[in-house]
């Protein structure tokens, strides 16, 4: 068995109220499938996928799915710290889930500190709106909120896969850009970003890449 070759590994976390569709989004993103029936997540779940950013750099995404239920709030907290990016997930047809987004965001910011994560506001179940369901969160309102807080924004459907790839891709690209710009660096004891292994030249390249960033901080 051959291990997939990648240059970086990013850890992302998905947060948002229960039933908004986090698990479904991840299932589609990693498996390309959708299930009508999806049990609420108990605690956390883990997914992984390889993705390429624009310059062809291979990124392995480690994706932590969390339970939206209140009773697991204290459990899911532990997963923020090692994340470099967070998908703030709401249900387009559920107003409350959008109203809670600021809470989720501040919770994430607080726990990811001192790191500044990349956020993407993800509206789910777009297919329902297209099939005559009642939209409770307008695209404009969500966009305005996203702009105000400098977040990416996408509306997706895990059922037909619309924009699912896009939601993850924008976060990944942004994290990579921030590495390039030197804002993010690989740190010991933090699993948000790790360098990959397995490709000898890439390994060297990465080390060279990472060095200046480290020096600048010291």
């Amino acid at each position: 068995m051959v291990e997939p070759i990648f240059d970086y590994q990013f850890r992302l976390i998905l947060i948002g109220d229960s039933t908004v569709g986090k698990s479904s989004l991840l299932k589609y993103f990693t498996d390309g499938k959708f299930a009508e029936v999806s049990d609420p997540t108990v605690g956390v779940d883990f997914f992984a996928r390889l993705i390429e950013v624009k310059d062809g750099t291979r990124i392995k995404l480690q994706l932590w799915d969390t339970a939206g239920q209140e009773r697991f709030r204290s459990i899911t907290k532990s997963y923020y710290r090692n994340s470099v990016g967070a998908l703030l997930v709401y249900d387009i047809c559920n107003r409350t889930s959008f109203d809670n987004i600021p809470l989720w965001m501040s919770e994430a910011k607080r726990h990811i500190e001192p790191h500044r994560p990349v956020f993407c506001l993800v509206g789910c179940k777009l297919d329902l709106v297209n099939n005559g369901g009642k939209r409770e969160v307008s695209k404009e309102e969500a966009k305005a909120f996203a702009d105000q807080h400098s977040l990416f924004h996408v509306e997706t459907s895990a059922k037909n896969g619309l924009n699912v790839e896009e939601a993850f891709r924008c976060v990944t690209q942004e994290v990579f850009n921030r590495i390039q710009s030197g804002e993010y660096k690989v740190e010991d004891g933090w699993d948000g970003i790790k360098t990959g292994f397995s490709r000898p030249s890439g390994l060297n390249f990465n080390l060279v890449e990472a060095e200046p960033a480290k020096l600048s901080c010291c």
Binding site: V42, G43, F46, S78, Y79
Partner: protein, 991 residues
């Protein structure tokens, strides 16, 4: 923990480093190639599973990429898949799987890893998986896996296990299915698990426990405890011969386990849970079985019996276990013997302290009266509730100022509240009246059927079998933290009331106590002081403890004159009892001191006592049962003496406590008056014998031998002050053995045994060495002094005991005579014992014991010089430093001459007369409070030294002819009279 399967089974492509990501990848390959368990791969799988746990734990602490790999490959799902397969000897694999999971959960420290493992109900599906529990190993690993999980429970993780939406809590519900598993390790794990669950502060989870599981779980526990004690009872009934002590002790231990477990739950203070548990315990176990068994006495009316029986039958059969339970009722009618009930109730009160529970129980035992009792068991508790209610009401009424007309005397007095003293006068008088008259007291007892049974148990006329349990129950109730004073007051503790004299406004404090019970205690105490009585020491000690609780209030004794008088009688009788055993044998003194040390080790611990199943069997006398001396009757003369000594000490202690006094007479050796090692001593003017001490290992030391009143001291000259020495070794003269050396007349073999002490059980002698003297004369002198010192030391102690026991002949020469043991001459010189001597102990009797002493035999008198002065006193050497040590040597030499003469008479049938009197025994100045009066300052007047050897034997040893004033003198004289002095002339130099 790990099965001993080889780590190094070989295999292709396996990485060398076992703790590495590479190895985990290798193992992942193994698992993915062997997804179906079969005969062929199961060993490989087992080994892989075990290795995976190892690597994950290693990675948890060293390399996060290890766990990442485990996550990415979703390796947990392999585990579940393996578990669900039924083929290929799956229990073999399952055991390893459970073990691997157990190790993982026990050791993973990384929070996110742990939560991941707990997530998504994987663990719950393992918990509910139908393992083959008939396989012992599967059972053991399964339950310890559950227990490990329970240790991870907290307010956060509880949600992985308890789902409030589905009201599902498999960890708990699956575990309690095994609460009565035959394997005790399983039961213990279940109990630990339940406690870990209850500890979690989660309201909805606890509500689930209470609403969905508490009633069935607790009623099952209670039912099984009931079943258990039936077994225990049967075991006691059928084992009068102490044949199944082991079984009994297991059953008792089991009952203790139950109680401790219940107490652990109650101590968590979960109100709702405690409510359910208390309810079950009271109504299905403690009242119908334990308490109603107290009503099984012969004189009980039959209809009551029936009520009790039917009620206990009903309550003891839990709805859920109806099928398996009927047997026990057929056998025992739902009751246990009174003795067992008392014992178990004692345990209950000693272990449980949950107030609502013990309070109710205590109330029922102490206060239930006949009318309530006849109404049956359910009414009992109702009545208690009603009483409480009434009490509350009446105190409210009092507060509002209206005096209730039907005020109940037990419940209404507010002792502390002085405002309402008017109301209390009547009560106090009434109560006093009732208590003054013992018959009336008994009358009120008659109305309390359970208390009456307890009181009846205290009767020791035949034996003290039940009495011990009656006492322990009363003691346990009165010392239970959860039982409030308003219940124990007057019954188990003195009652304090304030009386205001009608004429004045001044108030008196009035104490009353349970006269009836106090008299019961006094009976036991008096009984214990009679020869050949059947009361065990432990019973006496417990009675004394209870007695103190019954009669001491606010730090003082509230005992009436007549009861004080009875105590005095007991004291006199305990002395008289011991006097019968006061003997000349050395063993008496040794025993006396040993028993005292033993007593000092600590007073009776009632909780420990009630853990001992041995007391459940009828009292026995034979030590061959292995039962503790205090918990059985004495066997033989020596043990009877031991017992008498103990009884004496116990009663003496009681008297001291009641009088608020401290012991000043015991132990016989006052450690304060002893010379310690490394103490500097002023040896100017004392007798010193130079010697070389040769140890068994060949080391030699030059020392000076000093013989004090009680001690032998080896000193080294003090380099700083002339004439002073530093003690290098001290030993008690009473513990020495001296023997000559047949080849070297300058040598002595001296053994100093360790003193009998409570602290150490070290029986290795303090010293066992050869002493080489400058010449045989000095050697003889030393030997004489040691031999005599030993005798004298013992005599002094015996005299002290005689004084304590108020032996009448005390003022005269002490009755028992001693002869040193072990020395060759004393042995050869034993004379026939006197007619007057009391019977000797049958054992340990041999030559060398108890040589008679003639009361008027001549002693050579010496001046008791204060030649050794303690450095401790702080005085600097006032006298000019001179050659005192040299003097000492010279003195010794001069006396050695006489010693040699004695030696030459060795073998004579007459008592040899070692001229020890010429070698004055040094008297060290003692502190004035020295326990033993050493009479150090008395100059003893020589008495006529008429050798009356034979005739004196007819003289009573305990003659009381000498007036008190001369006691000290007489004693001192007699100290010197073991041997007959012949050469009077030489004595003068010592005067």
């Amino acid at each position: 923990m790990f099965r001993s399967r080889s780590w190094f089974g070989g295999g292709w492509g396996r990485p060398k480093n076992l703790h590495s990501l590479e190895h985990l990848k290798y193992l992942y390959n193994v698992l993915s190639r062997n997804q179906t368990v079969s005969e062929h791969n199961r060993s490989l799988l087992v080994e892989s599973l075990r290795s995976i746990a190892e690597i994950l734990i290693w990675g948890d602490q060293n390399d996060s990429s290890v766990f990442d790999f485990f996550l990415e490959k979703n390796m947990l799902s392999f585990f579940l898949r393996i578990m669900r397969q039924r083929s290929g000897g799956s229990s073999f694999v399952c055991v390893q799987l459970l073990q691997t999971l157990n190790i993982l959960f026990e050791n993973i420290r990384n929070e996110t890893s742990l939560y991941y493992l707990l997530s998504n109900n994987h663990v719950n599906s393992i918990i509910v998986h139908k393992f083959d529990f008939s396989d012992e190993e599967v059972m053991a690993y399964y339950i310890s896996f559950l227990k490990t999980l329970s240790l991870k429970l907290n307010a956060h993780t509880i949600h992985f296990f308890y789902n409030e939406h589905t009201n599902d809590f498999p960890l708990y519900t699956e575990a309690i299915k095994f609460f009565n598993h035959p394997e005790s390790m399983v039961r213990i794990a279940v109990r630990t698990l339940t406690l870990n669950v209850y500890k979690v502060e989660d309201t909805s989870m606890l509500a689930f426990i209470r609403d969905r599981t508490a009633a069935p779980y607790f009623s099952n526990i209670v039912w099984f405890i009931g079943k258990h004690i039936q077994e225990l009872d049967t075991c006691v009934r059928n084992d009068a011969d102490h044949q199944s002590q082991n079984r009994l002790s297991d059953l008792v231990a089991e009952h203790l386990d139950h109680l401790h477990y219940l107490n652990d739950i109650l101590c968590l203070n979960i109100t709702d849970l405690n409510h359910v548990l208390t309810d079950h315990l009271l109504h299905k176990l403690l009242i119908p079985l334990y308490i109603y068994s107290l009503s099984s006495n012969r004189r009980r009316m039959s209809n009551n019996d029936l009520v009790a029986q039917s009620l206990s039958k009903v309550s003891l059969t839990p709805k859920t276990s109806q099928n398996s339970s009927p047997k026990m009722h057929d056998v025992t009618n739902g009751k246990v013997s009174c003795v067992v009930a008392l014992f178990l109730l004692s345990q209950v009160f000693l272990i449980l302290s949950h107030s609502p529970l013990v309070q109710t129980l205590a109330w029922i035992i102490l206060k239930t009266d006949k009318t309530v009792f006849e109404n049956g068991v359910d009414k009992l508790h109702d009545f208690f509730e009603y009483e409480k209610q009434r009490e509350r009401q009446s105190s409210e009424e009092e507060a509002s100022g209206s005096v209730s007309s039907e005020k109940d005397k037990d419940s209404s007095c507010s002792k502390e509240n002085l405002l309402y003293e008017q109301a209390n006068i009547n009560i106090t008088d009434e109560e006093k009246q009732r208590l003054v008259d013992p018959m009336e007291g008994m009358g009120s007892v008659k109305n309390h059927p359970f208390l009456e049974t307890v009181y009846e148990a205290l009767d020791c006329t035949e034996n003290d079998y039940a009495a011990l349990f009656g006492l322990s129950l009363l003691y346990a109730m009165s010392s239970n933290r959860g039982v409030t004073s308003d219940i124990t007051e007057q019954v188990l503790r003195p009652k304090k009331s304030f009386i205001s004299k009608s004429s004045t406004t001044s108030k008196d404090v009035k104490y009353t106590y349970n006269t009836f019970l106090v008299e019961k205690m006094l009976q036991i105490i008096i009984f214990s002081c009679q020869p050949s009585c059947r009361v065990r020491l432990v019973t006496l000690e417990l009675a004394l403890k209870l007695f103190i609780q019954l009669t001491v209030c606010d730090g003082k004794t509230v005992l009436s004159e007549s009861h004080r008088h009875t105590i005095e009688t007991a004291r006199v009788q305990s002395m008289a009892l011991l006097r019968n055993f006061y003997k000349s044998e050395e063993i008496f003194l040794d025993m006396f001191e040993h028993e005292y040390c033993d007593m000092l080790k600590g007073s009776l611990n009632v909780e420990w006592l009630c853990m001992d199943s041995a007391i459940l069997l009828p009292p026995t006398g034979t030590p061959m049962t292995g039962i503790d001396f205090t918990k059985r009757l004495p066997c033989g003369e020596v043990e009877r003496a031991r017992r008498a000594i103990r009884v004496y000490f116990l009663v003496r202690n009681l008297v001291l406590t009641l009088n608020g006094e401290v012991e000043t007479q015991l132990p016989l050796t006052n450690p304060q008056s002893c010379v310690q090692i490394d103490q500097a001593l002023d040896l100017n003017n004392s007798d010193l014998i130079a010697c070389t001490v040769v140890y068994k290992d060949g080391t030699k030391m030059r020392r000076f031998l000093v013989i004090d009143i009680l001690q032998l001291i080896l000193v080294e000259p003090d380099t700083k002050r002339l004439g002073w020495g530093v003690s290098k070794l001290v030993g008690f003269l009473q513990d020495i053995e001296v023997a000559g050396d047949k080849d070297d007349s300058r040598c002595l073999h001296i053994t100093i045994h360790r003193p009998i002490s409570g602290a150490s059980t070290n029986r290795v002698p303090l010293l066992n060495a050869k002493f080489v003297f400058d010449d045989n004369i000095r050697c003889m002198a030393a030997k004489q002094r040691l031999t005599k010192g030993r005798i004298k030391a013992r005599q002094k102690k015996m005299q002290h005991i005689a004084r304590l026991l108020e032996i009448p002949g005390q003022s005269g020469p002490p009755s028992p005579a001693f002869a040193g043991q072990g020395g060759p001459y004393t042995r050869s010189s034993v004379r026939p014992t006197r007619v007057e001597n009391r019977a000797l102990f049958n054992i340990n009797r041999g030559p060398g014991f108890a040589a008679p002493r003639r009361d008027s035999s001549p002693g050579v008198i010496h001046r008791a010089d204060e030649s050794i002065r303690r450095h401790r006193d702080g005085e600097s050497p006032s006298r000019g430093a001179n050659l005192k040590i040299e003097n000492g040597r010279r003195d010794a030499r001069s006396r050695d001459n006489s010693s040699s003469r004695v030696r030459s008479r060795e073998g004579s049938p007459r008592m040899p007369r070692p001229r020890s009197e010429e070698i004055p025994l040094e008297l060290i100045k003692k502190a004035p409070h020295s326990i033993i009066d050493m009479a150090p300052k008395i100059t003893i007047i020589p008495r006529p030294q008429t050798p009356r050897v034979i005739s004196s034997e007819t003289e009573p040893s305990t003659s009381n002819e000498h007036p008190k004033e001369v006691i000290k003198t007489e004693i001192s004289v007699s100290e010197e009279t073991s041997f007959i002095a012949e050469e009077n002339g030489e004595d003068d130099e010592n005067l």
